[in-house]
C-alpha cells in the first residue's frame, strides 16, 4: 500500500504528528511505506518541477534543510529519493512533518508569498503554503527522542549480527542478571536500553569501549561492531577464547581447598569461567597501552612537562616557553598532555611548542590508574626536572607519590594564580598546599608567591616564586621605525583619540561601554588576539570594532594607546607584548601590572574596579595620556620597552627559570 494517504486532512495529520513529537498519546509518526511513484495529475511534470524549485528556494533561504525529515523518516532515507519532492507529493498527505519550524496550511486567495510564507503549491488539488512558525533551527531538541528509538532499533539489529558472528549468546546475560527474565524484555533490547547504562556485563568475551561519537583512536579500529546511540559510540570487541586451564592445574588448586576454604569462594563449578588475565597484556589487564606510549619514546629526556592541554592561552604559552628554555638548557622534553582536547570545543588547534619536544597524549595511553602510571613514567624516565603546568593529574601524582618522585627528579608545580584565591586559582587553592612539601611552587606574580608562602610556607620545600614571562623582543631597527612612526602620528593627530581595548575574552565590555560613552569624540576598538574567542557583535558597545591579530602590527602606529583595565595574568602578558610595539599603555592600578611595569613606563588608572569610579579613573588616565607631548610619550614607550627587555628577554627568562628550578645548585 505504497503512499496511501491517511484519512486525516494535512492539518489533522500534522497536529497528530506534533502531539507525538511532544510525547503525546498517539505515539511516534506512523510507519507508512514510502512511495515514490509519480502523481502526474497533480505533482508531475514541469509544473511540479517549478513548484519544487520555488519551495526549495524558499526553504534554503531560511536555513531549513531536509535533515529533520530524513532523520525522522528512515524509509525515505533508505529509498534515497528527494526528500522535499517526497514531502510535497506524499508526505503532507501522509501526515509527515518536514521540519518542526514549519507549518503547512491551506492557502486562500489572499495568501501571498512573503518572508514567512512559501509559494503556493497543490496537494490533491487543494492549495497549500508552508509558513515559518518557529525561528529555532536547533534540531537536537526535536530529534533527540525520535532518533533514539530508531538508533536503538538499528543498534539491536547490528548487535545481534555481532553476537551471531562472535558465537556469543545471551545465556550469560540472562543467568547473571535474573531480573531481566522477570522484566519481560528480550535480552538484547534490555541490554541496549538498560544494561549498558546500568553497567551490566553482557558476556565476558564482549568487551565494550564507550566514547563520544567520532572519537577514533587507532586501537579502536579493530572493533567488531560500532553502535551509535545518542552522542556516544559503543564499540564491541570480541575477546579471544583463552585456552582452558588444564585439569591437572585445577586439581592442584582443588587439593589445597582443605587448607583454605575461601579458595573457591567464587564457586568451584565456575573455576573455568573466571576472568583470565595475561600478565603481559597490559592493554587488557591494566587499560594501559604501553605500545602506544613506547612508540613515542625514543632516547632519553631531560625534562617531563605535564600539561592538561595545549590549547588554552595560559597553558600553551607557558609550556612553549618552558620547552624552549629547557632545550636551551640542553634538555629534551617529554610533554605529557593529560587531557586531549576536542578541537572544535576548545577554540582551535594545538599551538606549536618550541624546543626539542615529544608530546604524548595520556588519554590515549592510560585509561585507569592515570595518576600512578604517570608517576611510574616519570620514575622510569628519571628526568632532571618535572614541571606540572596546571594539570590536575600531574598535581595528584605529586601529592600521592611526591616523596618517591622528588627523589628521582626536581619537581615544580606551576599554578596560573596571582594569589587571589580562589577566584583566579582554582587549582592553586586545591593542590598548592599539598604539592608544596615535594615540589617548587610557581605562580604568576610575586604577590601570588607571597600569598602561597603565607598559606603554606612552613610545610613547603622552598619559597614560592613568580615564574618569569618570556616576551619576544622587537628588533632595535624595527623599534626605531616604530618610534619614528609614533612621533609622526602624534604630530598629525586631530582632536579625537583612538584607543585599543583588551580584556579577557567575553568580559569587561560593560566598563568599555561606559568609558566609550563618556568620550564620544574618541574611537575605541577591541583587540582580539590569535586564539582569543571573537566577541559576539551584539556584546560590544555601539561603534566599537574588533581588531584582529593580523591588524595589530599595521595599526598600532595609529593608535594612541591600549587600555588594559582588567587585572589578570593575560592582561599583564598583553602589556608586556604591546610594549614592543611602542604603544602607550593605560593600566588599572593592580598588583599584576605594577609587578611588570613601573609608573614611568605606563599610565596607571586609580582605583581598580568596575564601578563608576573605575570609569572615571580610566577616563582621567586617558585624558592624561592624551595631554602628553611627543617627547613625553616617547619616554613612556621607550622606558616600557627597555624594562621588558631587561626583565623578560630570552636571556633574562633563562636565568630566572634556571634559578627558580635550582639548576646548577648541586
Amino acid at each position: 500500500m505504497v503512499g496511501e494517504a491517511t484519512t486525516d486532512s494535512p492539518r489533522g495529520a500534522l497536529a497528530r504528528v506534533r502531539r507525538a513529537l511532544r510525547g503525546g498519546e498517539d505515539g511516534p509518526p506512523p510507519a507508512v511505506p514510502v512511495r515514490d511513484d509519480a502523481h502526474e495529475e497533480e505533482t508531475g511534470g514541469d509544473d511540479f518541477a517549478d513548484v519544487l524549485a520555488s519551495v526549495s528556494a524558499f526553504l534554503t533561504g531560511r536555513d531549513i534543510d531536509a535533515e529533520f525529515y530524513l532523520a525522522l523518516n528512515v524509509d525515505i532515507r533508505r529509498a534515497g529519493i528527494d526528500p522535499l519532492g517526497h514531502y510535497l507529493r506524499f508526505g503532507i498527505a501522509e501526515g509527515r512533518i518536514f521540519h518542526p519550524a514549519l507549518s503547512v496550511e491551506p492557502a486562500d486567495g489572499s495568501t501571498d508569498p512573503s518572508e514567512d510564507v512559501s509559494p503556493v503549491f497543490r496537494v490533491d488539488g487543494d492549495p497549500f503554503v508552508l509558513r515559518i512558525v518557529d525561528e529555532r533551527r536547533d534540531l537536537d531538541a526535536y530529534l533527540g527522542p525520535l532518533n533514539r528509538d530508531e538508533e536503538l532499533r538499528m543498534a539491536s539489529v547490528r548487535f545481534r549480527e555481532f553476537l551471531s558472528e562472535s558465537g556469543i549468546d545471551a545465556t550469560y546475560y540472562m543467568a547473571a542478571h535474573p531480573d531481566i527474565g522477570r522484566s519481560g524484555l528480550e535480552p538484547v533490547e534490555h541490554y541496549l536500553r538498560h544494561g549498558i547504562p546500568e553497567g551490566r556485563l553482557f558476556h565476558p568475551r564482549a568487551r565494550l569501549v564507550v566514547s563520544p561519537a567520532d572519537q577514533d583512536q587507532p586501537e579502536w579500529e579493530d572493533a567488531d561492531v560500532v553502535l551509535r546511540i545518542g552522542t556516544n559510540d559503543y564499540r564491541f570487541f570480541t575477546l579471544p577464547l583463552l585456552e582452558a586451564v588444564a585439569d591437572t592445574v585445577i586439581d592442584q588448586a582443588r587439593d589445597q581447598w582443605t587448607h583454605e576454604p575461601s579458595l573457591f569462594a567464587f564457586g568451584l563449578p565456575a573455576v573455568q569461567h573466571l576472568r583470565m588475565v595475561v600478565a603481559g597484556n597490559y592493554p587488557a589487564r591494566l587499560e594501559f597501552d604501553v605500545g602506544e606510549l613506547l612508540g613515542h619514546l625514543d632516547g632519553s629526556f631531560g625534562a617531563v612537562v605535564v600539561a592538561s592541554d595545549l590549547t588554552g592561552e595560559y597553558s600553551a604559552r607557558r609550556v612553549s616557553d618552558l620547552t624552549w628554555a629547557l632545550a636551551r638548557l640542553g634538555m629534551r622534553t617529554l610533554v605529557v598532555r593529560t587531557d586531549t582536547p576536542v578541537e572544535d570545543d576548545r577554540g582551535g588547534p594545538d599551538r606549536a611548542l618550541d624546543g626539542d619536544v615529544v608530546v604524548v597524549d595520556w588519554d590515549r595511553v592510560c585509561r585507569v590508574n592515570r595518576v600512578t602510571m604517570l608517576a611510574r613514567l616519570v620514575n622510569a624516565v628519571k628526568p632532571e626536572v618535572m614541571l606540572v603546568v596546571d594539570a590536575p593529574t600531574g598535581f595528584e601524582a605529586v601529592v600521592e607519590l611526591g616523596v618517591g618522585l622528588s627523589s628521582v627528579t626536581r619537581l615544580a608545580c606551576v599554578y596560573p594564580s596571582t594569589g587571589n584565591l580562589p577566584q583566579d586559582g582554582g587549582s592553586a587553592a586545591r593542590y598548592a598546599g599539598l604539592t608544596a612539601p615535594y615540589a617548587r611552587t610557581f605562580v604568576t606574580t610575586r604577590a601570588g608567591a607571597g600569598v602561597m608562602d603565607d598559606l603554606w610556607g612552613p610545610a613547603a620545600r622552598s619559597a614560592a616564586r613568580a615564574l618569569p614571562q618570556r616576551v619576544p623582543l622587537a628588533d632595535e631597527t624595527v623599534l626605531r621605525v616604530r618610534l619614528e612612526d609614533r612621533m609622526e602620528q602624534m604630530a598629525q593627530r586631530a582632536d579625537g583619540r583612538h584607543w585599543l581595548w583588551w580584556s579577557p575574552p567575553g568580559s569587561g565590555y560593560a566598563l568599555l561601554e561606559r568609558v566609550a560613552g563618556a568620550r564620544p569624540a574618541d574611537r575605541f576598538d577591541v583587540l582580539v588576539r590569535d586564539g582569543d574567542e571573537r566577541p559576539v557583535r551584539d556584546s560590544l558597545p555601539v561603534g566599537v570594532r574588533c581588531v584582529g591579530p593580523d591588524d595589530v602590527a599595521a595599526s598600532v602606529a595609529e593608535i594612541d594607546g591600549i587600555v588594559l583595565a582588567h587585572p589578570s595574568a593575560g592582561s599583564a602578558r598583553m602589556a608586556l607584548e604591546m610594549s614592543q610595539y611602542l604603544v602607550p599603555l593605560v593600566l588599572s592600578d593592580a598588583e599584576v601590572f605594577r609587578e611588570v611595569l613601573d609608573p614611568g613606563a605606563a599610565v596607571f588608572a586609580r582605583p581598580d574596579g568596575v564601578g563608576d569610579e573605575s570609569e572615571v579613573a580610566l577616563s582621567d588616565a586617558l585624558d592624561h595620556l592624551a595631554g602628553l607631548g611627543p617627547d613625553e610619550v616617547g619616554n613612556l614607550v621607550s622606558t616600557a620597552w627597555s624594562l621588558v627587555r631587561d626583565r623578560h628577554s630570552d636571556e633574562a627568562y633563562l636565568v630566572e627559570l634556571s634559578g627558580a628550578l635550582g639548576l646548577g645548585d648541586d
Partner: protein, 255 residues
C-alpha cells in the same frame, strides 16, 4: 648438597599462616617423594606474637625456624638466602598457598637439559582468590558478575611479545619465584627506602634481573594461589604507601 631450600617469610599473617604452612608441607612432601632433598625454612621477620605462636604450632615439621628484626621483606629474604643450603631457592609469601607440584616441577624445569643455567622460574598460573566472593554466588558454571577472583597467566620474558620496558610500569611476575641460590646471592633484594619512597622488593628485583639479561621463564602446569586483600589489587599496599620501584642506573625507556 640440598637440592632445594624453600623459604616462607612471615611477619604478621596470624591465622593465615596456618593454611600457608599446610600448603607448604604439601609442596615439601611432593618434592621429597620425587626424590629431591628439600630444606624447609620459615623466617619470622619482626613477627607479632600470634604469628609466632602459629608458626611454632603449625610449623613444627620445618627444618629451620628463624626470627629476624629487619622489618623488610627483601632483607628477610636476603638473610634466608645466606642461611639456606640448597642449590635452588624457592621463596614463598606467608599468606598464600601453592599447587603441590610447584617445587618438584620447578626443579625439573630448571635442571632439564637445554635450559639456561641461570633462569628465574615462575608458575604458569596464579589463581587470585578473594574470600569476599562468598557473598557473590556463582551461577552454575558462570561466576557471579561481580566476582573478584581471577586467573592470571604468566608470560615468559623470552616471549616475542614481551617488551622489557613494560616492566617499568607494572610488575609482570609474582614474588614466589624459584632460582639458583647463587643467583640470589649475586642479586640480593633491595630494602624499602621509605625516606625516598622506593622499594617493592620483588618488582625491583625483576627489573634488575631482566636488564641483567636473566630470563624469567614459566613452569608449565603449575599454579600458585594468591590471596587478594583490601580492594583486591596486588598493588594495593604499594600504592597506599606511595612506593615506586627502583630503577637501576642504565635502565630506562630507551630500550
Amino acid at each position: 648438597m640440598t637440592d632445594v631450600s624453600v623459604v616462607v617469610v612471615f611477619h604478621g599473617e596470624r591465622s593465615l599462616a596456618v593454611p600457608a604452612l599446610a600448603s607448604m608441607a604439601d609442596l615439601v612432601d611432593v618434592a621429597r617423594s620425587a626424590g629431591l632433598t628439600v630444606e624447609a625454612i620459615a623466617v619470622l621477620d619482626r613477627g607479632d606474637a600470634l604469628t609466632r605462636r602459629v608458626v611454632e604450632a603449625a610449623g613444627a615439621w620445618l627444618d629451620v625456624r628463624d626470627e629476624v628484626e629487619f622489618g623488610d621483606l627483601g632483607l628477610a629474604r636476603n638473610h634466608a638466602a645466606q642461611r639456606a643450603g640448597g642449590e635452588y631457592l624457592a621463596f614463598l609469601d606467608g599468606d598464600d598457598l601453592w599447587g603441590s607440584d610447584w617445587l618438584a616441577a620447578a626443579y625439573r624445569s630448571a635442571t632439564a637439559p637445554g635450559q639456561p643455567p641461570e633462569a628465574i622460574w615462575h608458575p604458569e598460573y596464579l589463581l587470585l582468590f578473594d574470600r569476599e566472593d562468598f557473598g557473590r554466588p556463582n551461577l552454575g558454571e558462570l561466576p557471579h558478575p561481580g566476582t573478584h577472583s581471577f586467573w592470571l597467566a604468566h608470560q615468559p620474558s623470552t616471549d616475542p611479545g614481551f617488551d622489557r620496558r613494560m616492566l617499568l610500569f607494572e610488575n609482570a611476575w609474582s614474588a614466589n619465584a624459584f632460582a639458583p641460590r647463587s643467583f640470589h646471592l649475586r642479586y640480593p633484594y633491595r630494602a624499602v627506602d621509605r625516606d625516598r619512597a622506593h622499594g617493592i622488593e620483588d618488582w625491583s628485583w625483576n627489573i634488575e634481573t631482566v636488564w641483567a639479561g636473566v630470563p624469567h621463564l614459566v613452569v608449565p602446569g603449575t599454579v600458585h594461589l594468591i590471596r587478594l586483600k583490601g580492594n583486591g589489587s596486588l598493588n594495593a599496599r604499594n600504592q597506599a604507601e606511595g612506593l615506586l620501584p627502583y630503577i637501576p642506573d642504565g635502565v630506562g625507556l630507551g630500550g
